[in-house]
C-alpha cells in the first residue's frame, strides 16, 4: 500500500488566496500537471473541518502524499500534522500573494507563480517516500562517562537517578579529578561568604553506593566505535587488559590540565620555591589543615601573600593562554580567606586587572573577601624577583605608578588547558601536517599528532570531538551549548569551557540530560537537533558510487565511515540529516526518502519555462530552511515585494545543494539562480556547522560550468543570509531580476 503513491492536493482559499488567485485553474494544474489523484478546494483549510476533509481522504481514499496549497510550510504546522503520509506545501500565501501587488496587470504573472508552486509541490510529492526506520538502531541506553572528576561523577549520579545505568572511565587510580586536590571550594549557596566543603568525598561515596554506576579506574577508552544507541567502547587498563562495553551515549568530562607555570620565568616560578600556583597552594592549605599555612622554602608561617591574577593568561605572548580561565578570581579570594580565616593579621593582596566574580554568588563572595580584609589592587604584575622573600614588581593602575612589594609567598593564578584530545583531520592545517594536503587529494593517510586522544573514536574524521578557539571542545555555543559535532557525545566541564567545580557539576548534569535524550531518540531512529524527530536518513546506491570519499570527508558531523573497499558506511544515529553528503556526491547516489536529488531536481524541472520571447525570466532561489526561508516568509508578512519570476525551493542546508540542480536548471532555461545560506566562518551561524561554508566553496567553482555552457557567471549567485535579513532577501532577488534584464534571457529555453 505504501508503495502505491497517491497524491491528494488541497487548495486553501483563505487569507485572500481565493480572491487573488483562480482556484479552479490551480485545481486543473494540480490534477493535470501535478497528477494529483484527488484535488479539493476549501475556504479555510487549517480549521477543523478542512483538516477533517484531508484526514478523510487519507483514511478512505488511500491518499499518502498530501499537498497543501496555502500558507508557508512554517505556518499552521500543528493543524497539518498528518501521520503516515508525506507532506508538501505550495506556499501560495507568503510565497505568492503577499509578495505581489494586488493589481490587474500583475494578475497573470501572480497566477503563474502559484501554478508553478502547485506543480513543484506535486513533483516533490511524486518523488518522496515516507521515511521508515533503517532497522540499524541500537537501543542501548547506558551512558558512558569519560572522566571521574566532579563533573563525571555528577553526570553519573544524576543520570542514574533518572534510571539510566552509567559507566565511569577514569584514567587515574581514584575518582575526584582536579577537585580532589582542593582544600575547600568556592561557595555554592547563599550567603556565599566563606569557602565551602569539598564535595568530592560525598560524591565518591554516593557513586560507590550506586549499583547503577560501574567505575573503571586506571582505565581509558582505547577504541569507541558505533553510533548513539550502539556505541561499543573498549575500556583498557594500564596493564592492557581490555573489555568491550556497549553504551547509548557519551558524556566527555575529561577536565583540564593546569597551565605549566614553568613557562613563566618572569615570575620566578621554578627559581623561587615560594612562588607557587593556585593548585600548589591548595596542597599547602590541605597540609596546614586549618592551622597556619607554611611556605615551601623554609616552612615559615606565611604572614604576607600576593596573588598574581591572569598569570600567563589573557595574553597573546607565545606559550601563554589567550583566554581567561574564568574561575581564578574567585579561587584567589577563596585562598586569601584560607589565610584570613586562620589569622586576620596575614597580609593578603590580590593583584588584578579586572576582578571577575559574576552573578549573585560571585559578587557576595568578593564582598565577603573585602570584609575579611583582603586587599584588592588593580595592577599589572611585571615581574617577580627571586630573593629570600620574592618581590613583586607591578604597575599600580589606580595610582598610575610603578611599585614593588615583598611577600612571604606569591601565588600565581595560572589557568586551565582543556583536556580535549586530538584535533580532527580537518583542523590540521597543511602547515601543521603535510598529510592534510594528501588527505585533501583523497589519499589515505595516518593522522599524526603529539596529543593523546581522549575518546579514541573509530571515526573517519578523527579520534576526538572537534575543537574551537583555544582548544576547547566546539559546540553550537550560544543557543545549543551542548551540541558538539559528534552526535551523542556531549562535553561538560573545563573541556568545554573554563569553569570551577560547581559550574562543572551543573554543566555535567546538562550533558547527562543531552546524553539521555540522544540515547532515547537514537533507539527510535529519530534525528537529534536541529531536525529533531526526523526519521529520514541517507542511503546510497552502491552500484553508482565511485568511492570518491567526498561524503565521508565533508560530513560536518563525522557521521560517515568507510568500509574496506572505500564505500561509505552511514551511521544513521550519528547523522543530523542535513544532506551535506548529498550535495557532496558528484554521481548523485545519495538520497533521503523524502529529500533527494530528485525531490528538488524534479521541482525545478516542473517549473513552466516560457519561451525567450515572452520576456518572462525565471529565477530559482534555493533557500536554507532554517534562516533564509523564514526571512523570506517574514518579508512576505511585511508585504515586501519581489519579482513574480521567482521560484523558491527550501533546502535543509545549503550544503545539501547538488551541483546537478544548478546545471539542470540552467539547462532547462532558468535565467538566474540565487543560493541563500547561513553565514559561515569562525562565527558560523549554520546549524549544520560547515554546511553553508562547504556549499560556498563548491559554488565558487560553478563559474567553470557556466562558462562551458557559454553563460554569464552573474547568473548564479551565493549569498550569506541571516534570519534577520528581512529587507535584504527581496532586494537580492530583485537585483537578480535587474541583472537578467541587463544581460538578457537565457538562451536555453525550449
Amino acid at each position: 500500500m505504501a508503495d502505491e503513491m497517491k497524491i491528494g492536493a488541497y487548495i486553501c482559499k483563505g487569507c485572500g488566496i481565493g480572491d487573488r488567485l483562480d482556484a479552479g485553474q490551480l485545481e486543473t494544474t494540480a490534477t493535470r500537471d501535478g497528477k494529483a489523484a484527488i484535488c479539493q478546494q476549501h475556504d479555510f483549510l487549517c480549521n477543523e473541518d478542512g483538516v477533517k476533509m484531508i484526514q478523510a481522504d487519507i483514511d478512505n481514499e488511500g491518499v499518502n502524499r498530501v499537498v497543501i496549497a496555502g500558507c508557508s510550510r512554517r505556518a499552521k504546522t500543528e493543524a497539518f500534522a498528518f501521520e503516515n503520509v508525506t507532506l508538501h506545501r505550495a506556499n501560495l500565501r507568503e510565497g505568492v500573494i503577499w509578495v505581489r501587488p494586488d493589481s490587474d496587470d500583475q494578475q497573470e504573472t501572480t497566477q503563474e507563480m502559484a501554478d508553478d508552486y502547485i506543480r513543484m509541490a506535486c513533483a516533490e510529492a511524486k518523488y518522496s517516500k515516507i521515511p521508515e526506520s533503517s532497522g540499524q538502531q541500537g537501543v542501548n541506553k547506558n551512558i558512558l562517562i569519560v572522566g571521574g572528576g566532579v563533573g563525571g561523577m555528577t553526570a553519573a549520579l544524576e543520570a542514574s537517578k533518572a534510571g539510566y545505568p552509567c559507566g565511569i572511565v577514569e584514567k587515574s587510580e581514584t575518582l575526584g579529578g582536579a577537585t580532589a586536590q582542593l582544600h575547600k571550594v568556592i561557595p555554592t549557596s547563599a550567603p556565599f561568604a566563606d569557602p565551602a566543603e569539598n564535595p568530592v568525598d560525598a560524591l565518591v561515596a554516593a557513586v560507590e553506593a550506586d549499583d547503577n554506576i560501574t567505575v573503571y579506574l586506571n582505565s581509558t577508552t582505547t577504541n569507541i566505535s558505533g553510533a548513539p544507541g550502539r556505541f561499543a567502547a573498549d575500556i583498557s587498563t594500564e596493564s592492557g587488559a581490555t573489555q568491550t562495553k556497549e553504551f547509548g551515549a557519551i558524556v566527555q568530562a575529561s577536565g583540564f590540565t593546569p597551565y605549566d607555570a614553568n613557562q613563566l620565568p618572569e615570575f620566578a616560578y621554578g627559581k623561587n620555591k615560594d612562588v607557587v600556583t593556585q593548585l600548589e597552594l591548595e596542597a599547602l592549605a590541605k597540609a596546614a589543615n586549618g592551622g597556619a599555612i607554611k611556605r615551601p622554602s623554609d616552612g615559615k608561617e606565611v604572614k604576607s601573600v600576593v596573588f598574581v591574577q591572569c598569570a600567563g593568561q589573557r595574553s597573546k605572548k607565545e606559550g601563554h593562554l589567550e583566554h581567561c580561565s574564568g574561575y581564578c578570581c574567585s579561587a584567589s579570594i577563596k585562598q586569601a580567606m584560607y589565610f584570613k580565616d586562620q589569622n586576620a593579621d596575614v597580609d593578603t593582596t590580590i593583584m588584578y586587572t579586572d576582578l571577575r566574580t559574576p552573578g549573585a554568588g560571585g559578587e557576595n563572595f568578593y564582598r565577603s573577601g573585602q570584609k575579611k580584609g583582603v586587599t584588592f589592587t588593580k595592577s599589572v604584575v611585571n615581574e617577580v624577583v627571586d630573593g629570600a622573600n620574592p618581590t613583586v614588581k607591578f604597575k599600580d593602575l589606580i595610582l598610575n605608578e610603578e611599585a614593588e612589594v615583598e611577600a612571604d609567598l606569591v601565588v600565581l593564578a595560572t589557568g586551565m588547558v582543556p583536556n580535549s584530545g586530538q584535533p580532527t583531520r580537518a583542523e590540521l592545517t597543511i602547515a601543521e601536517n603535510e598529510d592534510a594536503a594528501a588527505e585533501k587529494a583523497g589519499e589515505e593517510v595516518e593522522i599524526r599528532v603529539d596529543v593523546e586522544s581522549i575518546l579514541n573514536l573509530d571515526y573517519r574524521q578523527g579520534k576526538d570531538v572537534p575543537h574551537m578557539a583555544n582548544g576547547f571542545a566546539d559546540s553550537h555555543f550560544i543557543c545549543f551549548p551542548y551540541e558538539t559535532q559528534r552526535t551523542g557525545i556531549y562535553t561538560a566541564g573545563p573541556t568545554r569551557r573554563p569553569m570551577d567545580a560547581k559550574q562543572a557539576m551543573d554543566d555535567a548534569m546538562g550533558a547527562a540530560m543531552r546524553a539521555i535524550g540522544e540515547a532515547e531518540n537514537a533507539g527510535l531512529g529519530k534525528a537529534a537537533h536541529p531536525r529533531s524527530g526526523d526519521l529520514s536518513f541517507p542511503s546510497f546506491r552502491k552500484e553508482g558510487c565511485t568511492q570518491c570519499k567526498r561524503c565521508t570527508v565533508e560530513c560536518p558531523f563525522g557521521a560517515i565511515n568507510e568500509d574496506e573497499e572505500g564505500y561509505p558506511v552511514y551511521n544513521e544515529s550519528r547523522c543530523r540529516r542535513c544532506g551535506t553528503c548529498m550535495g557532496a556526491c558528484p554521481v548523485r547516489v545519495i538520497s533521503f526518502e523524502n529529500y533527494s536529488v530528485d525531490t528538488v531536481g524534479q521541482q525545478l524541472k516542473a517549473v513552466d519555462i516560457p519561451d525567450e520571447f515572452e520576456e518572462k525570466p525565471r529565477i530559482l532561489v534555493l533557500a536554507c530552511e532554517n534562516d533564509a526561508y523564514p526571512a523570506l516568509d517574514m518579508a512576505a508578512q511585511n508585504k515586501l515585494e519581489y519579482s513574480a519570476f521567482t521560484r523558491i525551493i527550501p533546502v535543509r542546508c545549503l550544503g545539501s545543494t547538488s551541483l546537478s540542480w544548478i546545471t539542470d536548471s540552467m539547462n532547462s532555461g532558468f535565467d538566474g539562480i540565487v543560493l541563500m545560506g547561513c553565514p559561515s566562518g569562525d562565527n558560523y551561524q549554520c546549524h549544520f556547522v560547515k554546511g553553508s561554508g562547504t556549499a560556498q566553496e563548491r559554488m565558487s567553482k560553478v563559474g567553470d560550468t557556466l562558462e562551458s555552457l557559454s553563460l554569464e557567471k552573474e547568473r548564479v549567485q551565493t549569498h550569506e543570509i541571516s534570519i534577520t535579513d528581512i529587507h535584504k532577501v527581496p532586494q537580492i532577488i530583485n537585483d537578480m531580476a535587474d541583472t537578467i534584464e541587463q544581460i538578457g534571457m537565457s538562451p536555453f529555453k525550449f
Partner: protein, 428 residues
C-alpha cells in the same frame, strides 16, 4: 482550555523564554508530557527582543526559530500563553497548579492573515519595544511570534475598533467575549523558568533616566537596532532623532551597588561590548564610544571579544563609576561627571547618547512565589532539597547569559525527569 491533559507525571514549565523552551524541549523529546505557561502573548521571552548575541554577533531569532519548530513539531508540549501560575500546592510528584489565563480575544482559528490589524486604527504603547513606539490594538507581537496568532489589546475592548477587528476576520477568530479563566493543572515537577527583568533605571536617580531624553537603557538600545524596531534600526537620540555617534555606556547601572542591586548581573559587560560594535557598524570611523566601567567581566572565551573591542581605536575605556549625569540644556547632550580612577582625574564628558547597562533582576518578586521555596537575598532561586519537585531554570537561578541559561535549563529538565520517572515507577 479544558482539553489540557495533565497528570502527576506532567512537567510544568513556568515561563516560555529561552530557558523554559529548552527545558520543555529536552523533556518532551524524551517522551515526557510538558505544559509551558507563558505570561506574554508569545514565547521567546527576552531573547526575542535582542538584536544580536555576544560573542558571535549572530541573531537570537535564528536559534529561536529552531526551538519553536522543535516545540511545534512535538506533540508532548502544550503551550498556554497569556497565563500565569497563581498558586501551587502539593509536593514532588503531586502538585496542583492554579493558572490564570487572560483573554487574548483571538482564538485558534486565527491564521495571522493580518486583516484585523489592517482594520483597526487605535494604537497603544508597544511593550515589545519597551514602549518606545506604538503598535496597533490588534497585533502580532513581532515578526516571528509564536503562536503565530494575533492579540487584541484589552484596552480596545468595548470600542468600535474592537468590532471592526471582529468584522474584518473571515474565520471567526476574533472573540470579544472571551473572559479570564482560571484552571487547575496537575504536575509531578515544576520548572521555574521565569527569567529576568531589566532593573528599573528610574531608581538610579543620579543618572537621570527619568529626566534626560538621551539617557536610555541597554535593552532599549537593542530594540533601536532592530530594522523593525522603533527607529527602523537607526541609532538615534530620542530628544531630536539626530544620529548618535558619540555614545557612552555606563556599566553596573544599578548593579554591584548597595543602593540598588547588590549582585553583578554578569551579562552587562559583554552586552555593552557587543553594543559598541553596533555603533561602529553604523558609523564606521565616525563612531566615538566610551565605556565607563568598574571591571570588565568578559570571562573565559569572551575575553577574545573584549580584546577585539579594545583594539578598536574608536572605543575608549574609562575606569570609573560615573557619579552623575547632567543634561546640557542647549543641545540635549548628557554630561557625565566623575573621576577616572586610573590616575584620579576628574572629568565632565559630553556625549550624544548615554546607554545605561542596566542589571538583571529576577522577574518574580521573592515574596510572591506561590510556593515555599528557597530564595536568596538577591531574589534568585537556590537549588535546595527543600524545594521538592520545584526547580529553577536559567535566570530565575542567577544572573546568566544565554548559553549559561540554556545549560542550566537543560540540567533542570533532568531534575524534573528524575521526579516524574520516580512517579512513573511507583505507579507501575
Amino acid at each position: 482550555m479544558s482539553e489540557i491533559v495533565a497528570t502527576n507525571q506532567t512537567i510544568l514549565v513556568v515561563g516560555g523564554g529561552i530557558s523554559g523552551m529548552t527545558a520543555a524541549i529536552e523533556a518532551a523529546e524524551v517522551g515526557k508530557q510538558v505544559i509551558v505557561i507563558e505570561k506574554r502573548a508569545s514565547i521567546g521571552g527576552r531573547v526575542s527582543q535582542l538584536y544580536k548575541y555576544f560573542p558571535k554577533l549572530c541573531f537570537p531569532t535564528c536559534g529561536l526559530e529552531i526551538n519553536q519548530r522543535r516545540m511545534n513539531a512535538n506533540k508532548n508540549i502544550t503551550v498556554v500563553t497569556m497565563a500565569e501560575v497563581t498558586g501551587l500546592q502539593g509536593e514532588a510528584g503531586n502538585y496542583t497548579a492554579t493558572v490564570k489565563i487572560s483573554p487574548r480575544y483571538v482564538n485558534a482559528n486565527c491564521t495571522a492573515c493580518g486583516a484585523c490589524g489592517d482594520a483597526v486604527e487605535s494604537e497603544f504603547d508597544n511593550e515589545f519595544n519597551y514602549n518606545m513606539d506604538k503598535r496597533k490594538g490588534a497585533y502580532l507581537p513581532y515578526n516571528l511570534a509564536q503562536p503565530q496568532r494575533y492579540v487584541i489589546d484589552p484596552q480596545m475592548i468595548g470600542t468600535d475598533d474592537a468590532q471592526k477587528a471582529k468584522d474584518a476576520c473571515k474565520f471567526d477568530a476574533v472573540d470579544l467575549d472571551m473572559q479570564e479563566e482560571t484552571i487547575e493543572l496537575k504536575a509531578g515537577a515544576v520548572i521555574y523558568a521565569t527569567g529576568w527583568r531589566p532593573y528599573d533605571a528610574n531608581k538610579i536617580q543620579p543618572y537621570g533616566y527619568d529626566r534626560i531624553d538621551n539617557v536610555i537603557t541597554s535593552v532599549e538600545f537593542e530594540r533601536m537596532m532592530d530594522p523593525f524596531g522603533p527607529t527602523g534600526g537607526k541609532i538615534q537620540r530620542p530628544s531630536d532623532g539626530a544620529e548618535a555617534k558619540n555614545v557612552a555606556f555606563i556599566q553596573c547601572a544599578g548593579s554591584r551597588d548597595r543602593n540598588y542591586l547588590k549582585h553583578c548581573s554578569r551579562i552587562c559587560c559583554m552586552a555593552s561590548l557587543k553594543q559598541t560594535t553596533y555603533v561602529s557598524e553604523q558609523f564606521g570611523d565616525d563612531a566615538d564610544v566610551s565605556v565607563y566601567y568598574i571591571d570588565i567581566r568578559a570571562i573565559d572565551r569572551f575575553d577574545d571579544f573584549y580584546q577585539k573591542v579594545k583594539d578598536n581605536e574608536n572605543v575608549k575605556f574609562v575606569k570609573s563609576k560615573v557619579a552623575n549625569i547632567v543634561e546640557n540644556k542647549e543641545n540635549g547632550n548628557p554630561t557625565l561627571h566623575g573621576v577616572d580612577t586610573e590616575g584620579y582625574n576628574r572629568y565632565a564628558n559630553e556625549h550624544d547618547l548615554v546607554v545605561l547597562a542596566v542589571g538583571m533582576e529576577p522577574s518574580v518578586d521573592k515574596d510572591t512565589f506561590p510556593v515555599e521555596i528557597k530564595v536568596n537575598d538577591e531574589g534568585f532561586i537556590e537549588h535546595d532539597e527543600a524545594n521538592g519537585g520545584v526547580f529553577a531554570a536559567g535566570c530565575s537561578s542567577d544572573a546568566l547569559d544565554v548559553n549559561r541559561a540554556v545549560q542550566h535549563a537543560t540540567a533542570s529538565a533532568l531534575r524534573a525527569i528524575q521526579v516524574v520517572n520516580r512517579v512513573a515507577k511507583a505507579e507501575g
